[in-house]
Amino acid sequence: MRMFPECYLPNCTLIFWNSTMNTMELTGLPIPLSQDAFESAAQFAAEQASPGKGKRVYLNTLAVCAVRTYLNWLELNTNLAEGDCWQPGLRAVLDVADLVLPGVGRLECRPVLPGATTMTIPLEVAQDRLGYVAVQFHEQLDAVDLLGFVRGVPLAEDDAPAEPMSVPLNDLLPLDSLLDVLHPGLAIVNLREWLMGQFRHPEWRSPEALITSHRTMRSGSRNTTGGSFSVPPDIDAQINSVSRAKAIEFQSLDKQVVLVVQVISITTEDNTLNVRLRLYPDSSSDQLPRNLQITVLDERGEIIVDSRPKSGSGWTEVELCDCLPGDRFSVRIALGDDSRTEEFCI
């Protein structure tokens, strides 16, 4: 996909849409550790060649048991015994903490020590994973917190990492993202489906439900936003556009911001889509809050485009052009240290 710099639209008035699902960030979920888990961890650690390796195996085992407990609560089937970390030989030579979900794939459950600021992904687990769950131990070794998730990405031979990867905990996606991965097909917001009138995610609403002024938010045709999606005059193209909106709430803010996503299909020979992402203040204000930032990240969590509205801005926008089928990206809306993340695919 190709990125365009931010541009600005006229203000429009919005109404609130309150959603608990949206406001409560699903991070730091405590999981108690059971004696069964401690017994397995101690048994596996005792088999190792050195105390240091034993400690790694001990913490890996507890991390896997914790994620399994969470998935078991949610009635998601797992099979510990299929994991490499449950094979005596393999866990002795690999730094591995995998959990198999039969028929779905393999998760990696990475232990994070108290006070650590990053999650480490060893080379041997850099591939063949649905993703990586950060499992942070409490100061007292009686429970862990499931901090968040990073998706696994199929890597080409040349792209495979040469050294262990370190993921800042601030960059983790909420656990919603983990659940999305475990429900393929339902998971990520598929923007192409919007163009076909399919809206699977009720939290994404018609802009008419949120926006009192229809002047700038008309669906179904290209509106006059003055954006960058111009059609070359020599192309006989049909333009189709759909917009949906979602209110984003921050605990530190007594107002909301609203993310409006406009999907624009310019039917030409290729099958690309353009996506316009706009942030507006709520109806109680005509300016976006300070310290707001919108960041678009690719599948690997690398920043594609990153924008902060100028002081006093009534709205801000980033655009992704020429998105291809299969492209995936996430949008992080941050207010200071607090952030919300939405994920999309084309």
């Binding site: 608990t20 699902m21 406001t23 108690p32 400690k55 030989g89 108290p114 659940l179 009720p202």
Partner: protein, 319 residues
């Protein structure tokens, strides 16, 4: 802590007939977060309180549709409902007639490790003569001084084991008696063999970086990375499996015959049973390359078949 409005919204989401399994699980997860953040949640110092709480939260997810608020405060009613079940599980822990008492009971040292985990890991404290952690400034020439409390405890567990697969594998890799690790190297870089890489990446603490090793051997980084990933790591796994008694016993059992049906089209000799036996039971060990040459198949094709078809079946069947 969640207020009544938030909890009501979550319950509405969970109980909605329109909700998808995904949205229901997201809402349940948030409800679990609310419950565990509530100061009203019953706590206990019992060493297996975590087990009781886990059973309770599992029950919350299974039986949430049975919860019906009776007072004006849905959050209070929810916590009363949760604590009612949790109280029962905590009573089970204390009841000598239940099977819970059969569970492992942590000893004093294990309890201390759990209580002081954060401190000992972060500060790398070691055990003093009185059994208490000492500060970094108080360290003596005790050989355990570089170890955390947790590592010291694990070391004691390891010393109590007669046989340790981890130690056996490491000794084998360090000695390389069959020269299969030293014999695996990229082209003319004969010193950059798998044993040297395993020594520097797996057996040294802390492990060296691949970049530093590549510079040391004067080998292009990409060549080293590919060699490690495509040759040494698979070899490491095969060695590990050769030490796994359950795998070996399975391969020698009648049950393993089913692996014989799994082979690439038109290539019956490449079936998983025969390949597994040659890789894991042969003495001296046969290499993937030698087997591939014998079967007149490309080594990369055989390796792919082994990893994508044979290894997953082997792991699943032997369990």
């Amino acid at each position: 802590m969640c207020d009544d409005t938030q909890i009501q919204a979550l319950l509405d989401e969970i109980r909605s007939s329109d909700t998808t399994p995904l949205l229901r699980r997201k809402a349940l997860s948030r409800l679990l977060l609310c419950i565990q953040r509530s100061p009203k949640l019953r706590r206990s110092r019992h060493p297996d309180y975590g087990h009781a709480l886990s059973l309770t939260l599992e029950r919350v997810c299974r039986a949430i549709d049975e919860f019906s608020p009776r007072s004006a405060s849905i959050s209070t009613d929810l916590m009363n409902w949760v604590n009612g079940y949790l109280d029962g599980r905590i009573r089970d822990l204390r009841n000598p007639d239940t099977k819970i008492k059969e569970l492992h009971r942590p000893d004093r040292e294990e309890r201390q490790i759990k209580q002081e985990f954060g401190g000992v890991v972060l500060l790398d404290q070691s055990i003093g003569e009185d059994g208490n952690p000492t500060s970094l400034g108080d360290l003596t020439p005790d050989p355990r001084q570089d170890m955390t409390l947790l590592e010291s405890w694990i070391q004691a567990l390891q010393q109590a084991q007669k046989q340790r697969i981890g130690r056996d594998i490491h000794r084998y890799m360090a000695a390389d008696p069959d020269a299969i690790l030293q014999g695996c190297h990229p082209g003319q870089f004969s010193e950059c063999h798998c044993q040297a890489l395993i020594q520097r990446l797996h057996l040294s603490e802390p492990p060296e970086t691949r970049r530093a090793i590549a510079q040391d051997f004067g080998i292009p980084e990409q060549t080293l990375y590919s060699h490690w990933r495509n040759k040494c790591l698979p070899l490491l796994q095969i060695i590990a499996l050769r030490f796994d008694t359950q795998v070996i016993e399975f391969l020698q059992s009648a049950e393993a015959q089913a692996l014989g049906n799994c082979h690439p089209p038109e290539q019956i000799p490449c079936n998983c049973l025969d390949v597994a036996k040659r890789l894991l039971l042969s003495e001296p060990p046969e290499s993937m390359g030698a087997i591939a040459r014998d079967l007149k198949i490309k080594e990369s094709a055989l390796a792919k078949h082994w990893h994508s078809e044979c290894l997953p079946r082997l792991k699943k069947h032997r369990l």
